[in-house]
Symmetry: C2
Subunit: 237 residues, 2 copies
């Protein structure tokens, strides 16, 4: 199959050159400045920045304001395999941690009511957290659980696994999960929480947890960094 693209734009040539340059330099290496690269490639700084922007989105490069542009460390790709974040991390010998943004009472809107099969306006508990792997933010998520759990904040401090706390303290057992995986691009909030750039590709995952009777007991919206996360699923016919 011949390369049928009429004329690849100049920034794409720069991008692929930079990709090679990064590979040779190795992780952690610092690249020449954008202004220097513009001179080297005989182009403008804007064009160089467009090339760098895509490599950043791919996780190849990292930019730090005031410091420079660096070759990213190899991705410690996190594979989702079981039901819960904490369990997945442990299964892969990765150090996981959580930062709780807030635990609050909310009422079900139409969408949450449908997903959790509860009446609109019923009480829900919302748990918002940032998930870390090896000290780096990997995802932020908000879990919604029917009912009120005033002691949850303290219990999550002792055990970061929401699923474990629900099981141990409240007898809620999640045995089945339905995941819907799509893409989105990062906005300012995502950029701040995950330490990424705006516009970076992200994985948006909606998960519904069901108990042994098939009753929905949890619904979560998760936003994962696209550059260091993979989702794994096994399906039997």
């Amino acid at each position: 199959m011949p390369p049928l693209v009429p004329r690849p734009p100049k920034y794409y040539a720069v991008k692929e050159d930079l990709r090679l340059l990064a590979a040779e330099a190795g992780p952690g290496a610092v690249l020449p400045t954008e202004r220097a690269l513009a001179v080297t490639f005989g182009t403008s700084r804007t064009t160089v920045r467009q090339a760098i922007a895509e490599l950043v989105a791919e996780g190849v490069l990292t930019r730090r304001q005031g410091k420079g542009t660096f070759v990213s460390a190899p991705r410690p790709t996190y594979l989702r395999q079981l039901t819960s974040f904490s369990e997945d991390a442990r299964a892969q010998n990765l150090a996981s941690a959580s930062f709780t943004l807030g635990v609050e009472r909310v009422v079900a809107d139409a969408h949450l009511a449908e997903q959790l099969r509860v009446p609109v306006e019923s009480d829900l508990t919302r748990v918002a957290r940032v998930r870390l792997i090896d000290g780096e933010p990997l995802a932020h998520e908000a879990a919604y659980i029917p009912g009120l759990f005033p002691d949850l904040p303290g219990q999550l401090e002792d055990n970061p696994s929401l699923y474990a706390v629900l099981s141990t303290c409240y007898g809620i057992e999640i045995v089945e999960a339905e995941d819907t995986v799509g893409t989105m691009v990062g906005g300012p909030d995502d950029a701040r929480l995950l330490g990424i750039e705006m516009g970076a590709p992200l994985l948006l995952i909606f998960r519904r947890g069901l108990d042994a009777d098939g009753v929905p007991v949890e619904w979560t919206r998760s936003v994962f960094r696209g550059d260091r996360f993979q989702f794994f699923a096994r399906t039997r016919r």
Copy 2:
């Protein structure tokens, strides 16, 4: 939680304004020209283009050179649920079609050999196709199958489901699939095959098909449009 972002850049304000404008205008509507928008927002055309670029990546807008910028039609999100593309589409009452790019003999490199559990350099058949839903390209993929299947091209013309052909003609039954889902950004080839813009977020899916004995019989690399695809998985503990 207060909004901690110091100062959202101007292009982000433009982006959100355009998002509202697009919602009001409705699918298919044409937006003012980039030059006109620059005047309206009191900004430069570059800034307007940066805002539009992200909305295009999100699937909200569509640009057509020489014509204009349009509000995208609502996404016919394709959900992956079963094992094969054709089956999934049928289950959702979506018209699926395939365009075969090529069927060729290749030899296994180290990676394919490991995934398919065959010796390095063994014969494989590579089937490269573009997948369409409702006439629009949704994905391109390359499937690798151990062995040689000289009649495959003709058989795929009669039945676009590779899984069905393998079953009917060769007695190969795929009963289990392992999917690994991640993100990538589109390059020139992806842009050409899928009719998207370079830099658009894509879902990269590696799938391994196993037969009843757990023997790998197929390995596929698929690239799906991120703006109109969702992956669905159900996991039991």
